[in-house]
Symmetry: C2
Subunit: 486 residues, 2 copies
């Protein structure tokens, strides 16, 4: 297999197929087949999203895939943003459709005509909904599995509120949800408020979480948009205010996708294969029985008993009973990123112990079978801590405070520089650096309106902010993140 | 609300919206919006399907939505069967696509090009996969929510085997899976082997489960198809046999859809609303606190404590803390088909009891709070037994053995008559009766190849089979089911 550090793209493309996540040979470019192992991992991510949605009282809905052109065209910015990259259904059977149908690229224009029917009084607000569905983009850029595809496994939360402030509170809640999910995924990130020219089509402002991939380029993995009443005006979403009169609702969305899986693969994997976070690994541990001819039965029975014991404690565990050699199995499960391998040979059976081997460090520990569940819990926690520590170090080591656009260009990873807020200066910074302004760090952007502990949590350790616009040199208190992006 | 017995269609259409299952106002005919309560119910059905698939070692996959026309056209019967009712994607952005894309109406033509890559040796067989996805039909007939829609929530299992016999064993396993699922849904059904003219496009033979709806017409709710090597030849799915040489695989599919939910609604509901089977009800019990001004706190606290206790025993329970009257809440939860209502007033709190009311019979029982979980288990079991008994009685009361096509026409519900097997006689029976031949009862069709207990389970009680073809009068041992269908 290719080396991650030498050729990230090749390594990534080989790994995802060798680890049986997807099959890229489907006869449409940018549309992959989810194989059972890949789908199980994605479903585990989805499960946490469902849990977070339930916890924050969002309700799951499912809207149709198709959107009539007439509805799609109601919000001008959306057409501008997506019109060039949507798939069009123009025929049903042999008939040309009277109104062409857009295959949803995102669901604002499908949902909001219904929101307009659902929202009547302030008692109907906040309305908090979400769905996990496929969305479609006629992508003209180079595609890459999980990261830039034409059929996207997509999460989208859509909310409506009775005020600008309540919608902004929703954005803050979204950030908390994101932080908890990212913790499960052992995924480091930075949060930025995007510059105006880079906000979502139709949004008032956009916030995004970016992960850093091995080439030290950033990947947008979650977005949070405050729509103000922009869509509410286009789709007539109004409510009767307690003080009388009809007022437009304020709205937000929160989006994530299979990119989360792409980021996990890219950030944690090594030259032996995947390293899946314990929270989303289809198998958290695999027991490999070390059997010798004629002695299989005792070891196999012991392996199954051990698996039952561990499963009863709530872990996802699998016994590899295939006929292949132990060496083959070790490699195979390393490729698939199983956090802990449990070896069990005739001697272990005799001593009523087993050997736990961590996927990340290879660290071995001998654990009494009676303590297997406890031992596994420890190994998984240490393994997850290992993933987190390594990944966060890569991120924080590669954020550099710089003074000028020229320095930002030279900086490896994310540059942090001042920006006076002037569009021309922003464009100049992007032109000189050949990088993208990700935006203003969220702790700075939201300032006092953010709860203090959140602000502290989101702030990356600064090495000294220079306090001047990287383009014009004017004094400014506003830093921006600048990076190469996918 | 309309009465079920007087106008089933109106009753059904009103009920599904009043019970908040879906919203039919989406601006495309035949495409509904799944509301949270409806989606939660469907997801509960899906959950049992997932469990059954895991139990029978099927693996979950997900294939792309779009199928290139070139692949779609490889199997002639599929084009004939579906070509007239598929949606076509012909444009991406502003560009006309070189190869138009079919929006999947079912996934044979998406999956089998990949199966051809996945199946190499007999060791790769049986290959057992499934997916739960939306499929699309450009339906030209009158649409009806859950029953005939244009975007269909769909389950499809696809398998490949090394022999005709092994594929037939899969059909038998499918029937067992179906029987277990139908039990969870409290849903009566008959199983028939469809006549050749009514089999699935491309199939060697088709078996179907039909439910009986209130108008005593049948609704196809599950299908099982043996494809022989028909598709394997079209898509080149071959394996190296242990004896050498390459052999085409034999294949099967198993399909179900949101019609399962439609059938539950139609079969069990009454003029007060839904009656959901306990296995799939989003809430199995709802606690309605009976509160009076100034005394809310004690009752509310007791209600929440009771809910926690019941939830800890593994039941899905909800406390209705809304400000509406108890009467409003009773009606509302009856409309939504919650199996058991638990009333809790100040006197009940004093006596440390609660009142459990069954949705079907209205039967009340006073249960000590300490025994609430046990009491609920009993009430749910009795309720489910009630649903099953009533629904099976409606079915079996309406299967009539008849002698001639004329009698079959007059028969209310399902007629069972002889058929010599001749196509012309079959067509004559359909013409005279203005009904459809559902096919040969499965216990008869499979005969000895079916396990005895299965055969016995599937046989509907006969009232005397007449032994002659209903068209030509020739002696025959083969009965068929004949009914009006949706």
């Amino acid at each position: 297999m290719s080396k991650k550090q030498e050729n990230f793209s090749e390594w990534y493309n080989e790994l995802i197929e060798k680890a049986d996540l997807i099959d890229k040979r489907y006869p449409i470019k940018g549309m992959d087949v989810w194989r059972p192992y890949g789908l199980a991992t994605m479903r585990a991510i989805d499960r946490y999203i469902h849990e977070e949605m339930a916890r924050t009282k969002h309700q799951e809905v499912q809207f149709p895939l198709f959107i009539p052109q007439t509805e799609f065209n109601k919000e001008a910015e959306q057409i501008k943003g997506f019109g060039g990259e949507v798939y069009w259904v123009t025929k049903g059977g042999e008939n040309d459709l009277d109104v062409p149908l857009v295959v949803r690229p995102t669901s604002e224009t499908a949902m909001y005509p219904m929101f307009s029917l659902w929202v009547r009084s302030h008692k109907d607000l906040p309305l908090k909904t979400y769905q996990i569905v496929s969305v479609f983009r006629y992508e003209t850029k180079q595609t890459r599995s999980f990261i830039r595809v034409r059929e996207i496994h997509f999460f989208e939360a859509h909310t409506a509120h009775d005020s600008y402030e309540d919608a902004e509170r929703q954005i803050h809640e979204d950030v908390q949800i994101w932080a908890r999910l990212a913790e499960k995924l052992c995924l480091p990130y930075i949060l930025s408020k995007r510059p105006d020219w880079d906000k979502f089509p139709g949004a008032h402002y956009s916030v995004a979480a970016d992960a850093m991939l091995p080439e030290l380029k950033t990947l947008q993995v979650a977005t949070f948009h405050h729509y103000k009443d922009n869509f509410a005006k286009a789709y007539d979403i109004k409510f009767e205010a307690p003080t009388g009169g009809h007022v437009h609702a304020h709205q937000t969305t929160y989006g994530m996708s299979e990119r989360l899986l792409g980021a996990i693969i890219a950030v944690h994997g090594d030259d032996k294969g995947l390293m899946l976070p314990p929270a989303v690994a289809p198998y958290q541990a695999v027991i490999v029985p070390i059997v010798f001819k004629g002695k299989e039965a005792g070891v196999m029975d012991a392996a199954r008993a051990l698996a039952n014991q561990i499963a009863a404690a709530g872990f996802r565990v699998h016994v590899d009973e295939r006929e292949e050699t132990a060496g083959f199995k070790f490699n195979d499960w390393e490729m698939r990123g199983v956090p802990v391998r449990i070896e069990l040979g005739p001697k272990d059976v005799e001593k009523q112990q087993c050997v736990m081997v961590r996927r990340d460090s290879g660290a071995k520990s001998f654990v009494a079978q009676a303590d297997a569940a406890k031992g596994l819990a420890t190994a998984l926690a240490e393994y997850a801590d290992g993933l987190v520590a390594r990944a966060w170090k890569t991120l924080t080591d590669n954020v550099h405070d710089v003074k000028s656009a020229e320095d930002a260009k030279k900086a490896v990873g994310i540059a942090r520089a001042g920006w006076c807020g002037d569009d021309a200066c922003g464009q100049k910074i992007q032109a000189v650096t050949e990088k993208t302004i990700l935006g203003v760090p969220l702790d700075v952007a939201f300032g006092e309106s953010f709860r203090e502990e959140t602000r502290a949590k989101l702030a990356l350790p600064g090495k000294g902010f220079h306090g001047h616009c990287a383009a014009c040199g004017k004094a400014t208190t506003t830093p921006v993140h600048i990076a190469k992006t996918y």
